[in-house]
């Protein structure tokens, strides 16, 4: 049906001379794709050796777009952005990079654009790192045709039908789209939450429209054709922060705002995919290699005149690359410009970027190497992403890792350096973005002491995931102060003030909640951080006292801790309600305990007892945590038999976790006995 729509287009629709304006946002404003935005603006992420932006601009040129407004938020990215668009100067396209003044969200950015007044016509909005080979002019034409029938159309979304999202790696993106079957007018657009058993739909939709199309396999490509009224709508509604807000707001107030949203399907062979996660990155790289997104494939792109030779079994080899004797390019792989492969190296389903140097007997499987990566002899790299200028010493095994820019690896790594613990989609249980934020928290709190990076806490937090990721990298990750850390310090400030001024706990809860929304923190992070803040606060307090009076000892500390716990009890009770929150609570205790062993460690038992007595933690949760920790530590200790230093770190971590377990053992024993008692008595 949709093919017909394209055919039915009036011959002369959107005049070829008429200029088509495109707004591209280089930043996503939503930080769910860590750690990439620390290195590049995500739009410059190299995909099959070229930055994503190059593909995007190439597509814009093909769509005969004259003007592109490229908005980016951070000043850090300025040089990189201007640099990367230089080579488009002689093309038939004007790229205007614009830095937004500290816009916190897409909504603010669009409001800025509205005030500037440079766009007074329909335009196309591309949000974040999007790959597409769709002809934007056709999209605009469809939008125009639709506008003739319905004056109030504000937005045409381009949605990709994934058939069924259940088994897809992108299933977290699953949205429910309710639209009219004939016109594709969107009536309802909502992210599906798998926890909900019933989805509420309004009866009126079905009565007003003969055929209502309900689809859950559609996927937002983040390409939007906007009418000029979109900008004023953003300006009028200050609560529109994201595109999702906008869509929801417009649909709810459809009659009041007199605006309608339609959608357009992507029809084969058009292709579009926003890179929202490493999984999407992997899918896109694979699809480019397998030529699903023709004409944007390595050997046809005119923009860099790359001399790729396309060989059977989806192998691309640059003419300037050097393959030594005995090299195997197994399948679905690409070797970039001036890269060399040593003797007997084996490449499978991987992309080797330009100017990489691979040694002898190196096995690279299912991995992505950016530019100037050096790998010495006898290495094995599996399921990993290695950023530019990395150096990997010989005889190393790198599995399931992301290695950031210019890092020298000298020992084995496995199971995620930063981020992708769940590289293997089949084993994925927790959404990637959640994991990311957990990693971020861990990283920031251990900035001062990287070598003792703690994994025990992390594995407990990810207990449901089959593979427990561990952070074992020696290299300092880029220091960044993220929202979670800010949030934590904010909470500590609030609590400290509350404790000193003896404020009511209800007020403190309100304060915490408002900071939660300010930093956009998930509820699980809130419970984790609140517990952590309370424990840290007691430490701070103790430290300040101990400076004054030297006589203080551990018992003194316990007194402080106890009074604080009692004081903050309403807050703790408020946040620790669900089983998940209990997990977070335990995790927080463990984290703080390991960071200042001499003080808190002896009192973990008392802490647990306190929480148990006050019905904050349940017996099952405590035992679950207790047992599961043992397993994890044993597992990870087996992984590192070759490397001494690594083992030492492991050992220390193990020791901490073990020490915690040992201290609480009597309590657990007591719990178990109590349980038996109660079961026998009943």
């Amino acid at each position: 049906m949709s093919v017909n729509v394209i055919k039915e287009l009036p011959n002369n629709t959107y005049g070829k001379q008429e200029s088509l304006k495109v707004i591209v946002f280089a930043d996503e404003f939503i930080h769910d794709f860590k750690p990439i935005e620390k290195v590049y603006p995500s739009i410059l992420l190299p995909v099959v050796t070229l930055p994503l932006l190059d593909y995007l601009i190439e597509n814009l040129i093909r769509s005969r777009v004259q003007t592109v407004y490229l908005y980016y938020s951070s000043s850090l990215n300025k040089a990189k952005i201007t640099d990367s668009i230089k080579h488009f100067q002689d093309k038939n396209i004007i790229i205007i990079p614009i830095q937004l003044n500290d816009s916190g969200s897409l909504g603010d950015a669009l409001r800025d654009i509205d005030t500037n007044g440079c766009i007074r016509d329909d335009f196309i909005l591309i949000r974040g790192p999007v790959f597409a080979n769709i002809d934007l002019r056709t999209l605009m034409d469809l939008h125009r045709v639709r506008k003739e029938k319905d004056k109030n159309v504000v937005l045409t979304m381009v949605l990709r039908n994934l058939g069924n999202i259940k088994d897809s790696a992108l299933k977290n993106e699953s949205t429910l789209v309710v639209s009219t079957a004939n016109t594709r007018r969107i009536l309802h657009y909502k992210k599906l939450n798998s926890n909900e058993k019933k989805i509420k739909l309004e009866l009126q939709w079905f009565l007003d429209h003969d055929n209502v199309h309900i689809n859950t396999a559609l996927f937002d490509t983040r390409i939007y054709v906007c009418s000029q009224s979109v900008l004023p709508l953003f300006a009028d509604n200050f609560d529109f922060q994201t595109m999702e807000d906008f869509i929801r707001g417009v649909l709810i107030n459809e009659e009041f705002l007199d605006s309608r949203i339609y959608w357009e399907p992507l029809i084969y062979p058009t292709y579009a995919l926003p890179i929202t996660s490493w999984k999407a990155y992997k899918i896109l790289s694979r699809d480019i290699l397998q030529r699903h997104c023709y004409p944007l494939v390595p050997d046809t792109l005119p923009l860099s005149l790359r001399n790729f030779i396309y060989l059977p079994k989806i192998i691309y080899k640059h003419s300037s690359s050097i393959l030594s004797k005995g090299c195997t390019l197994h399948s679905a792989s690409l070797v970039g410009e001036h890269s060399t492969l040593g003797k007997n190296s084996f490449i499978k389903r991987s992309v080797i970027g330009p100017s990489c140097n691979i040694g002898k007997n190196v096995h690279i499987n299912n991995s992505y190497l950016f530019s100037y990566v050096q790998i010495e002899d006898n290495c094995e790299v599996t399921n990993s992403i290695i950023f530019s200028n990395c150096f990997i010493e010989k005889d190393l095994k790198i599995t399931d890792c992301i290695i950031l820019d210019a890092i020298k690896c000298s020992k084995n790594h496995s199971n995620a350096l930063i981020g992708i613990s769940d590289w293997d989609i089949e084993h994925m249980k927790e959404p990637l973005s959640d994991c990311d934020s957990n990693f971020a928290t861990i990283l920031t709190e251990n900035d001062h002491d990287i070598d003792s990076d703690e994994d025990a806490s992390l594995s407990s937090s990810l207990s449901s995931a089959s593979s427990s990721p561990s952070l074992k990298d020696s290299s300092p990750p880029p220091a960044f102060q993220d929202d979670h850390e800010m949030f934590l310090s904010e909470v500590i400030d609030s609590l400290l003030r509350g404790y000193q001024d003896k404020l009511k706990c209800e007020n403190l809860i309100l304060e915490i909640n408002s900071s939660r929304y300010a930093y956009n923190i998930s509820i699980r992070q809130v419970s984790y951080n609140v517990i952590k803040a309370i424990l840290n606060l007691s430490l701070l307090h103790y430290n300040s006292i101990s400076k004054i009076s030297l006589s203080s000892n551990n018992a003194e500390y316990y007194k402080i801790l106890k009074t604080m716990l009692n004081f903050f009890k309403p807050i703790i009770v408020n946040y620790i309600k669900t089983p998940n929150a209990q997990e977070d609570c335990l995790r927080a205790i463990e984290d703080v305990a390991s960071s200042s062993q001499e003080l808190i460690l002896p009192y973990v038992l008392n802490l647990l007892h306190f929480f148990y007595d006050n019905d904050i933690l349940f017996e099952e949760k405590i035992i679950e945590w207790y047992e599961q920790d043992c397993d994890d530590i044993q597992d990870t200790s087996q992984d590192c038999d070759s490397d001494n230093e690594d083992c030492l770190k492991q050992e220390s971590k193990k020791n901490i976790a073990r020490a915690i377990r040992n201290t609480v053992a009597p309590f657990i024993k007591w719990l178990r006995e109590a349980e038996e008692d109660s079961s026998t008595s009943s």
């Binding site: 019933k198 989805i199 209502v212 309900i214």
Partner: protein
């Protein structure tokens, strides 16, 4: 192809449900059972019987209310149909529903069966529907029709009704044609709760609200066994079908097997999956074949479901269910476009040989046996049943006159339904009216958009 059109007696049995009371058109059914109300001078039951006959059914069961069994048998005998009918009377009871009737005659059904309602007026061949059923070995396959467009000049006799036509919400998977959601719009107040499971399993479906469930179902034998077990289901459309459709989402509870200990308990707990059992080979065959009904995910064919409901949507052709007054009059107004209604092939006239027509102005009318149309009358687009006497100087247009009606001199009758055994006295003018059975309209009265009936008689029902 003809081979496929054959309906083997053993494969499908047919059941015509003609026990309906016409609770939504009591004005008409006071004097005649609903299934015998004339539509274009044919008793309503002729239409489903004809449909079955056209689809090569050799015999059918007709379920009627005991009280009218004799009348129905006599009426059917007169129709000269080749299809053999077995009329079964069921006891008269207030609340006997479609499912109850089927349950009542269950021992006559030995195979998969087709249920058709006596008020289905549609000229279609259902062999395609049967093929769809066969193809997927469905549990239930329903025939879905386009709702007919009401002609612009159509006015329903009787007072303006505020009653809105009932609307079915039929969700049909775009890829497989399965019914995934079925409900009546009146079941909901403001919101519809859809199970998340459904949205995940069927990621792409359309909910139709303007299609008509024809109440023609092809039903698997196991569903009948289940229906016998589930005594609390009264109707097919309202209860059984939505239930079966909903159950498509469930998987059989395998842990039931090891509860052999208490047999008594199990009998109470009997769930639908103890009835919905595939033949052992069916599953094996499907596992070994490459067939799959959908390609969007990695699930097995039919998502491994044993319960499968399908909708056969017939495009282009229309039909209706004459179960309301509005639909009944609409059926009379447009049915001649769907059917070739000439009773016997020899005479080209629509006037029965035994009728006496003295009038010279008869246009587009059907006049039945022994009717007497006097001179100086004008009849246009009307259906006159048997033994009707129309006296001189009377004009009748767009009306339905049932049997034994006497219309006296100088009457004007336009767009009316006049039930059997009525008498319309002299100089009466009726426009858009409905006259109940045995009613005598006094001379010289003028009525527009009214129901004229003996109130006492109506109250009885």
């Amino acid at each position: 192809m003809n081979l496929f059109k054959m309906v083997h007696q053993n494969e499908f049995q047919a059941v015509v449900l003609a026990g309906g009371k016409g609770s939504r058109m009591t004005e008409l059914t006071a004097g005649k059972p609903k299934c015998l109300l004339p539509i274009a001078n044919m008793p309503m039951i002729w239409y489903p019987l004809k449909l079955l006959e056209q689809s090569n059914f050799a015999e059918t069961i007709v379920i009627v209310s005991d009280a009218v069994k004799v009348d129905v048998v006599a009426a059917i005998d007169k129709l000269n149909l080749t299809i053999k009918t077995d009329v079964i009377g069921i006891p008269d009871a207030e609340d006997i529903g479609t499912a109850d009737s089927i349950r009542f005659i269950h021992d006559k059904i030995h195979s998969d069966f087709v249920v058709i309602s006596s008020d289905l007026i549609a000229n279609i061949d259902i062999s395609e529907t049967l093929n769809l059923y066969r193809k997927h070995n469905a549990s239930i396959t329903a025939l879905i029709l386009q709702t007919p467009k009401t002609p612009e000049d159509f006015v329903q006799p009787g007072p303006k009704s505020k009653q809105k036509p009932e609307r079915d919400l039929i969700g049909i998977d775009r890829e497989t044609g399965r019914i995934v959601f079925l409900a009546s719009a009146s079941d909901f107040e403001e919101t519809i709760n859809m199970p998340n499971k459904l949205l995940k399993k069927h990621s792409d479906f359309i909910v139709h609200s303007k299609l008509l469930d024809a109440h023609l179902y092809v039903i698997n034998k196991w569903v009948l066994n289940f229906l016998i077990h589930r005594k609390n289901f009264n109707t097919l459309k309202g209860e059984l079908l939505p239930y079966i459709v909903k159950k498509q989402l469930d998987k059989p509870n395998t842990s039931m097997d090891d509860k052999n200990a208490s047999v008594v308990k199990m009998d109470i707990k009997k769930d639908i999956f103890q009835f919905a059992v595939e033949k052992p080979l069916d599953n094996l065959i499907r596992n070994m074949s490459a067939f799959n009904d959908h390609i969007t995910d990695m699930d097995d064919a039919y998502h491994g479901d044993i319960i499968r409901c399908y909708a056969h949507i017939i495009n282009g052709k229309c039909g209706l269910r004459a179960n309301t007054l509005q639909m009944y009059s609409l059926a009379n107004a447009i049915v001649d476009k769907w059917f070739d209604l000439k009773k016997d092939e020899v005479s080209l006239s629509n006037i029965s040989p035994t009728a006496t027509v003295k009038s010279s102005q008869v246009q587009n009318c059907i006049i039945d046996e022994n009717s007497l149309i006097s001179e100086k009358t004008s009849l246009k687009q009307s259906y006159i049943s048997n033994n009707v006497i129309v006296n001189p100087k009377t004009r009748i247009s767009k009306s339905i006159i049932m049997s034994n009606v006497t219309i006296k001199e100088r009457c004007v009758i336009e767009n009316c339904i006049i039930c059997n055994d009525c008498t319309i006295e002299e100089e009466t003018e009726l426009k858009d009216c409905l006259v109940g059975a045995n009613h005598i309209v006094p001379p010289g009265s003028h009525h527009t958009r009214e129901v004229l009936t003996d109130i006492d008689r109506l109250m009885e029902i």
